[in-house]
Subunit: 507 residues, 2 copies
């Protein structure tokens, strides 16, 4: 019935080689007829179509000589999202208004959202219809404890449905997750190796760091290939009973990967999104039995026993609604675990524990056995109270190390972690007793030093709470890949004297 | 004390001519030594320094032949922010962590913020230390009614301090603001003309549209120059007692201009930010007496009398804390005002009213006199209940039109508003009585048609509530600058049959 314009002649696709990460950007001359005919201006959200594909991108207007008339430039992510080849024909038009943003607004206004609402939000995010500011508004609106258990369950369902789900066709598939906030607490590779050598199925997918100096995937990447496809992962698990892979390549809960990008920039904790993120990944990976490790300490992510109990109750309630067997382990979160903080430095600790070396950090070994033991008890593989000991036996027998090397070989080989060329050591000035260690500040130092983007960067801490230190003892050593970041971390160190508190006085 | 790297050799500045709006972006080759030495990667936030200036920008990594070794590319906003010339030397480094983000997080967690906290957030936003996602988190955290009156007062103070404040050195400076949500309700130019011709001082600065099809500044821009500097504005006000300028060029509450960019993308209402935005602009512009017009209706911004009273109370309470005399006028917000919706179409209505033309929309004239009259009464320029009539007399005498032309001449001349080439008329199919008009959907149609970016775009509505319409009567006409946008607006019209509801039945 209404006025229908001629379809505009197509634009010719040019790959500009500009890396804008996950945000697809297109570049168009200011004098392009399509800008006039469609009313586009700089930063407009634009629907980009080829004969086969379409995607939404952000428009940057080019006033210089970057492009010729009739050309359209693409950032790398826009180019890849549309599977383009040079010279392809491209059309631009207005995207439809994003209806699900009304649900984000409803959440800001304090309303409860149902599963349909979460599903439409998550689908739009996965389909690239949200700009980063929209994702930021959603993350913020769900921040703190703004989601109740029904909403967390609905969000988890929605996130699972937006990606692939693995069916292992076996009655028991185990998994674990640590809520984090404790630098160096890298028990997963040890736990997986112990349990897989007990014959259990543990297809472990891990994430990269969100706000910490290393995620398990970052650490494992210094030791082996972690970017497995779904088929490669199936193959490794079939052969070894377990894997230690990065979850991001498999589109298990792809919404979570996109949310995490923005959560990292905002650094806003959200209990609901934490639970949905963890449980959606576990259920999509086919887990039936999951242990959640919650370290509790004044500078850990969870600061008090009361907060831990509230979080544990939400985890239990949502897992029950989702039909997942779950157990919660509250652990000591008062100080870092092991010596290394940062991908390669943590990898070194893990190797030392698995190889039963004398220099291996005893606390990391102990925690890994505690977690593995709790999982053995949870699935009735040993009597209550005997799990810890059984895990220790398996570890000390060398079977766990054998299993670890077999898993790495199956994933593509066991590598040596990289070493950082730049270092700085902080020494003790006056003798005393180590009274307090600030986990958050330590993580900050390791991140400023370049972790996790530089896998060799981070720090080693050489003291534990209650330990006696003398003048000129080295308290910690920063590792960096370059001088700029080393300096940046040292600057922070000099401004933050509560990082490690030494109480002076009698021995 | 610590390791200090050599300062890297500078990069050479290249203007790439890429328009990224307010977000400064820089472009660097992937093989640049500074990427390695400082650990930068795509989308890093980077401190860009010249010998004179520095600014934070977002880094895009270039893998193609866009730049030569040693060059650094700049988007238009980054180039302007640093006042660069081609070939200037530029250094890159890490920006300091943005401390005020901890206050944004505290707000997400439901804590009350004090003035220091708001001041540090606002200063960081004005200095460009927030990426858009951070601003989005702040806007979302303050959304709905999450700020109490003390916080709104603190935020208003912080926003005023971050910009210029005008001192008119006269005891009474009047101003008005309409909370909006009512398309076509463009009373301001008429009110200003009436009151200035009564000898009052009304240096009116207006904003561009946030989520509506036109702001007063957009409308006035089709009639005269509104981009006045502070000095130019002083000159106009000294000569005519009033002006009708765009506030954005004067850095009155510059934080507000930046917040509005993101609020527009998110479309999230925030009572606190609305009040802070309005009152910071008024106080910075030197106002002593302000009238707030709150239209109330089922599809206006404020939907119920109760909501209007709550908002009015907050306005009164915050204004009192800030030492500003304020009066609130609740008005009928059940349907659009005048005929035109969109900058140029609204300008035409204003001209008709000011010139006392027979075709002038009576409702717009009546509302303008109501508002001007309330202001005359508020400042005791006439007895209670007589303001409306006095305003009408001034308008009908032709004095207001004389004053309006004088103001426009002083600002740079009185122009003829532009005319749209593309149109589409929606006709009535079956006779009946107009029962309901949806303000929000009407605004949406006008925006899809291209308003306010295309000043000539928008719509004319030819019916009022309760009016009898016959088959083939034109209900509304869409105006567009191009075929794409016309089509887009017509598509929406065909999908939304509740835009104008006609009740069938006896006359």
């Amino acid at each position: 019935m209404h006025f229908t314009p001629e379809r505009m002649p197509p634009l010719t696709a040019i790959r500009l080689g500009i890396d804008t990460r996950q945000e697809p950007v297109i570049y168009l001359r200011a004098d392009s007829p399509v800008c006039r005919s469609e009313g586009f201006s700089a930063m407009s959200r634009v629907l980009v179509s080829t004969d086969q594909q379409h995607a939404i991108a952000t428009l940057n207007i080019v006033t210089g000589e970057l492009l010729q008339t009739g050309q359209i430039g693409f950032s790398e992510s826009a180019w890849q999202r549309l599977h383009l080849s040079i010279g392809d024909s491209v059309w631009l038009s207005h995207p439809k208004p994003v209806q699900s943003l009304s649900h984000v607004r409803a959440k800001v206004y304090g309303h409860q959202l149902d599963e349909m609402a979460f599903q439409s939000i998550i689908n739009d995010i996965v389909d690239g219809r949200y700009a980063d500011v929209h994702v930021a508004a959603f993350v913020t609106a769900c921040g703190d404890n703004h989601l109740n258990d029904d909403e967390i369950t609905a969000l988890t369902h929605a996130m699972i449905k937006a990606g692939s789900v693995i069916n292992w066709k076996t009655p028991m598939v185990i998994d674990k997750h640590c809520v984090g906030g404790l630098p160096g607490n890298r028990t997963t590779p040890i736990v997986v190796s112990i349990l897989a050598s007990c014959g259990l199925i543990m297809p472990k997918t891990s994430s990269r760091a969100i706000t910490s100096p290393a995620g398990t995937a970052d650490t494992m990447e210094t030791l082996t290939n972690v970017s497995l496809s779904l088929d490669e992962m199936r193959h490794v698990v079939k052969q070894e009973g377990a894997c230690l892979a990065w979850g991001g390549a498999m589109r298990l809960s792809p919404a979570d990967d996109l949310l995490i990008q923005v959560e990292r920039a905002l650094d806003i904790d959200s209990e609901g999104q934490l639970i949905a993120s963890v449980l959606s990944k576990k259920l999509a990976a086919g887990a039936t039995h999951v242990l959640i490790d919650i370290p509790v300490g004044p500078t850990a992510k969870v600061r008090t026993a009361e907060a831990a109990e509230l979080l544990a109750n939400s985890f239990r309630s949502v897992a029950k609604k989702l039909g997942l067997a779950i157990d919660i382990l509250l652990t000591d979160g008062s100080q870092p675990v092991g010596r290394g903080i940062g991908p390669a430095l943590e990898a070194r600790d893990i190797l030392a524990v698995l190889k039963n070396q004398e220099t291996a950090p005893a606390d990391l070994k102990d925690r890994a056995c505690l977690v593995a033991g709790a999982m053995l008890e949870m699935i009735n593989q040993c009597p209550a109270g005997k799990g810890h000991l059984k895990a220790k036996e398996v570890l000390e027998s060398g079977l766990a190390w054998e299993k670890f090397t077999a898993i790495c070989q199956a994933q593509g080989g066991l590598f040596k972690p990289p070493v950082a060329p730049y270092r700085y050591s902080m020494v003790c000035h006056t003798p005393g007793i180590v009274q307090h260690i600030d986990n958050r500040q330590l993580s900050q130092v390791a991140k400023l030093a370049g972790a996790p983007a530089d896998p060799e960067a981070g720090l080693e801490i050489f003291v534990k709470l209650g330990q006696r230190v003398e003048a000129n003892d080295i308290l910690l050593t920063i590792h960096a890949a370059n001088a700029g970041e080393l300096n940046y971390a040292v600057d922070f160190l000099e401004d933050h004297h509560t990082l490690i508190t030494i109480a002076q006085g009698e021995d």
